[in-house]
Amino acid sequence: MAHELTHGVTQFTAGLRYSSQSGALNESFSDVFGSLVKQRSLGQTADQADWLVGEGIMGPQLPGVALRSLKAPGTVFKYDNQPAHMDHYVQLPDDGDPNHDNGGVHINSGIPNHAFFLAATALGGNAWEKAGKIWYTTLTTRLSENSDFQAAADATAAGSGDLFGTAGAEEQAVRAAWQQVGITAK
């Protein structure tokens, strides 16, 4: 539910185009804020959270634990083929063919999802307090329609510096997280 509401926020702020990398970012912000709402309502820290998305709808037709995982992309569902690293980015054309998922927006969202998980768990505590804040200001003030993963890495790094102090623990955690998924933030 929060996943869907976040698409609305995205539409009126960054306006990330629902196609290829900007679309995968769009999807990822929805999974990130969906996770934070869940964690907040359950009173869970980043370590306690399960980081799963869509576990409520699984069943005989959808075999698995959940639709997606920010902690372990690609592992939770029979048809989960999400990458956790840029090396495994899935190139699909955004040509309107339903097979191509608008250029893989539900697939490649695994990469920024995992970056958020890494940053949040490195910082510890409640994920919404630091990592969540950084991601929120990034979405609402720093990104635009065609922002790609590199832009998101740059923006979250800069944002963490602005919010919590340049080169502080927060910024370092954010940079390390993106590095771990294969992107070097500027």
């Binding site: 999807e27 929805s30 083929n81 699909l92 339903p98 097979n99 191509h100």
Partner: protein
């Protein structure tokens, strides 16, 4: 006498949604009863899918919404029409519902990825118009 193509196969591919999963539903005339085969002809015509494809849906793709490709194959030609949930006409929706529930249809689900080619349409044997069970002993070929 007006000539018209005989529809041999209708495939519906649905992608997007909240998981991006791709569901393909196919009704091949060879899998259906003669009555359902006739029904398929009528529904495809009512859906207007044999002429020029409808103008592609304009506007930005909506997140987590389904998008559809309806592929109609007659003897030798393939007609592809694309729809979003918002742009889909009523008659197309009827056809899709019918294809998804008719006895003999087949379904396939998988993750998004490179489009899988549909199996080729094989040369068709025309069934005898009269006679008992539809797998008739007497058949004609054109």
């Amino acid at each position: 006498m007006p000539t018209y193509a005989r529809i041999v196969r209708v495939s519906v591919t649905r992608g997007g949604g909240i998981a991006g999963l791709v569901r393909t539903t196919t009704a091949d005339e060879a899998w259906l009863s003669p009555r359902d085969g006739q029904e398929m002809q009528a529904l495809v015509r009512q859906a207007g899918l044999l002429g020029d494809p409808p103008a592609p849906a304009t506007g930005k793709p909506a997140p987590d919404q389904f998008n559809y490709a309806v592929i109609v194959e007659d003897d030798g030609r393939r007609h592809v029409a694309r729809f979003s949930e918002q742009s889909m006409p009523e008659q197309v929706r009827n056809l899709i519902t019918w294809v998804s529930t008719v006895d003999g249809h087949r379904e396939d689900v998988g993750p998004p990825g490179p489009a899988r080619p549909l199996p080729p349409v094989v040369a068709r044997v025309v069934r005898a118009e009269y006679g008992p069970p539809w797998r008739s002993r007497r058949t004609r070929t054109h």
